[in-house]
């Protein structure tokens, strides 16, 4: 494994090792480009993962202080946990469910398709599905996505079978076990899914793709990639010409270090990435780096989510097998006749008993609540993934008072649902309940959104520099050797889980960066 000198200014320094940063790091390393990845969390490998929800949360989750505001229920129930994401090598690819869906064509064109919605800041992506298709194909091959490249889909578990039976009764057509980056058969040196469950707690079989045990070791094997765990980035530095020159971070021993770099890519997820840019103020960039537009941190999206759990008079054991075991795609279309624009997916989801208690209806107590838990073995569940409407005032800012252990202002997350989001969620609640009632549910629960797992849009991509933070390559409009490589690039969220698109963008970005380097543009 390579180690690079702090003063080696020929390296590309990437902040974050998840879907965006981990993939970009490996792709650059494969091209012979030297890379240092700074990862805030520790390195927990497969044997370290714990099949226990709270213990795993303690091991993997990003628990550093954050603050919240806005009318979203998370701000009330989990005021210091706006997001449920990972602080560990591999980032949130350790905890993701594996769903790997492509955007639909219209979903790259939110503004032209949905029009000018009052209270929204919709914008078209500066790229199209046609441009992305070859990169999606590379990502699906890399990740071993089921239902692509001749890879069979996974077998459905009990939770899926309930969803499928109900959905078919309702007349839904596109119902299957999903496009999952979980091996249905051995592939790429990794074994097949053992239906363990606990997909959110780190995959103990390695059947699920994660940068932790795919991209990162492959990159390290080239001798061009160094991953530095427990390295918390504080600020990005720049020179008098306004080009970035390196990243200041706190190392595992609590010492402040500075890694020089030829280029910097920010991939710390949509809360930390804008926070890092906003914390990187200077006389030249008083509003923070890459923020001449004032758009850094704005347009925060989290998908219109929610869950429907249902109780039957017979057992389901929803927790057995893959957490996200199947999907209904029929509602993932733009049909304003339903009373809202954009669409949503319904995907199975299960929680163990401890997290069901914590998330089924936060704050609830008494027999109405506990009788639901009494029927835990008879419970099935699904998760709603709908497109939410970007809004300028939904944003990540620096908390004016609260600072972290390193004295840096923490991220403060403000979110208010758009009216369209509420209409979509209510539609999805009704359809989800109808699916389960069609096969005999005796009781259904419209469960509110969890702390956000899909955090998007806070450094959005735009054709015009005044509308966003990065261009179509994820390169910041203001600083040409500064890139954004995670979901914060998203111009709009689409009705699908974001990881496949983050990975496809990272592969494409690596190609673009290598070209810029060989042309001496950066």
């Amino acid at each position: 494994m390579a180690t690079f000198d702090l003063n080696d200014d020929s390296v590309v320094c990437i902040v974050g090792s998840g879907a965006g940063g981990g993939t970009l790091g490996n792709e650059l390393a494969q091209k012979g480009i030297k890379v240092v990845i700074l990862e805030a969390g520790g390195r927990h490998e497969i044997p370290d993962f714990i099949n226990d929800e709270w213990a795993s949360f303690t091991q993997l989750a990003w628990k550093d202080m954050r603050t919240t505001s806005g009318s979203w229920r998370v701000a009330h129930d989990f005021p210091n946990l706006p997001a449920w994401i990972v602080k560990s090598v591999g980032g949130s690819t350790v905890h993701w469910a594996g769903a790997s869906l492509r955007f639909q064509e219209y979903e790259f064109k939110a503004r032209s398709t949905y029009g000018s919605l009052a209270g929204a800041s919709l914008l078209d992506w500066p790229i199209t599905l046609a441009e992305m298709e070859p990169w999606y194909a590379k990502a699906e091959d890399k990740m071993g996505t089921t239902g692509t490249n001749g890879i069979p889909r996974l077998p459905g578990n009990n939770n899926y079978k309930v969803l499928e039976a109900g959905a078919r009764k309702l007349g839904y057509k596109e119902v299957h076990t999903g496009n999952m980056s979980i091996n249905s058969q051995p592939r790429d040196g990794r074994g097949a899914c053992q239906q363990i469950g606990f997909c959110f707690q780190g995959c103990k079989s390695g059947g699920k793709w994660s940068t932790l045990y795919t991209e990162i070791p492959k990159g390290e094997a080239t001798g061009n990639l160094e991953v530095r765990p427990n390295a918390m980035a504080l600020q990005i530095e720049h020179n008098a010409q306004g080009k970035v020159t390196g990243v200041v971070y706190v190392d595992a021993d609590g010492k402040q270090q500075s890694q020089k770099a030829r280029a910097v890519a920010v991939a710390g997820n949509s809360l930390e990435s804008p926070r890092l840019l906003l914390n990187s103020t200077s006389a030249m960039f008083p509003q923070g780096l890459a923020n001449s537009s004032g758009q850094v941190g704005r347009n925060y999206m989290r998908h219109t989510t929610g869950s429907v759990y249902a109780v039957f008079d017979k057992p389901v054991h929803m927790y057995r097998g893959t957490t996200m075991a199947g999907i209904v795609r029929d509602e993932a279309r733009n049909d304003p006749k339903r009373g809202f624009v954009g669409g949503y997916e319904l995907e199975t989801l299960s929680l163990g008993l401890p997290f069901t208690a914590a998330f089924l209806n936060p704050g609830a107590w008494g027999r109405s609540f506990t009788s639901a838990l009494d029927d835990y073995p008879n419970m099935a569940g699904l998760w709603i993934v709908g497109e939410d409407m970007s809004r300028e005032q939904n944003r990540v800012t620096l908390d004016p008072k609260v600072k972290d252990a390193n004295g840096m202002p923490v991220a403060s997350v403000h979110f208010d649902d758009h009216e369209n989001d509420e209409k979509m969620r209510n539609h999805a609640y009704r359809q989800g309940a109808a699916i389960y009632e069609a096969v005999g549910a005796v009781r259904t629960f419209p469960t509110p959104p969890y702390p956000s797992t899909h955090n998007l849009g806070t450094n959005r991509m735009s054709a015009n520099a005044r509308d966003g933070v990065v261009n179509k390559w994820g390169q910041t409009h203001d600083v040409k050797n500064l890139f954004v490589s995670d979901g914060s690039q998203f111009t709009s969220g689409a009705a699908c889980n974001p990881t496949l698109t983050i990975v496809a963008l990272a592969i494409r970005q690596a190609d673009a960066m290598a070209g810029m380097m060989s042309r001496k543009e950066i």
Binding site: P155, N157, D374, Y376
Partner: protein, 183 residues
């Protein structure tokens, strides 16, 4: 379908001596334990009054009532407050005052302490009067972990916990549902 055995299992004989938290709850549940200040676990509290400990246990049951759970699991879930009260005078004050407030309301409406108000509905009405108070809020949040993260109760809810060490569910019923109507 493979079902989960929900019966309480006692792997070895344990006597009801010492702190309740040091004894496997399943053993205590099998032996039987009741809620009251005279109980061994309540008498052994060092920093909170036995009456307070007993009231906390009944509050815990009334907040998250599960008839399938013996009292001992609620005893276990609140046992930590005694130690916390010893470490932090503010916790001790918050707990004792919270219980005193609840008892005052019980006296007003039922001329008795909370602990002996007979009907759950009546006790729940009293709890609703204090549900925004510090003690109730603390207990409701803490119990989500101290009660539901007790692995001993998981089988009673048909939850099997860790599975990787057992080879996952691929050969243990991940798709064994047998009652669904044919699509």
């Amino acid at each position: 379908m493979r079902q989960v055995d929900r019966r309480t299992k006692v792997s070895r004989r344990v006597f009801l001596r010492g702190s309740a938290t040091a004894v496997p709850a399943a053993a205590v549940a099998a032996a039987g334990v009741s809620i009251g200040p005279e109980a061994v676990w309540a008498q052994e509290a060092k920093n909170l009054k036995p009456h307070t400990m007993a009231t906390l246990v009944l509050m815990a049951r009334d907040i998250y009532p599960h008839d399938r759970l013996a009292d001992v699991y609620y005893v276990q879930a609140v046992a930590g407050y005694d130690a916390k009260a010893g470490q932090d005078a503010a916790v001790q004050k918050m707990v004792e005052e919270g219980v005193a407030q609840l008892d005052a309301a019980a006296q007003q409406h039922h001329k008795s302490t909370y602990l002996v108000v007979a009907w759950e509905d009546d006790r729940v009405a009293l709890l609703k009067g204090v549900e925004h108070g510090a003690l109730f809020q603390k207990m409701r949040g803490d119990l989500l972990v101290s009660l539901y993260n007790n692995k001993e109760i998981w089988p009673k809810f048909g939850y099997e916990g860790a599975s990787a060490d057992k080879g996952g569910y691929i050969n243990r019923g991940f798709n064994d549902i047998d009652w669904l109507p044919q699509a």
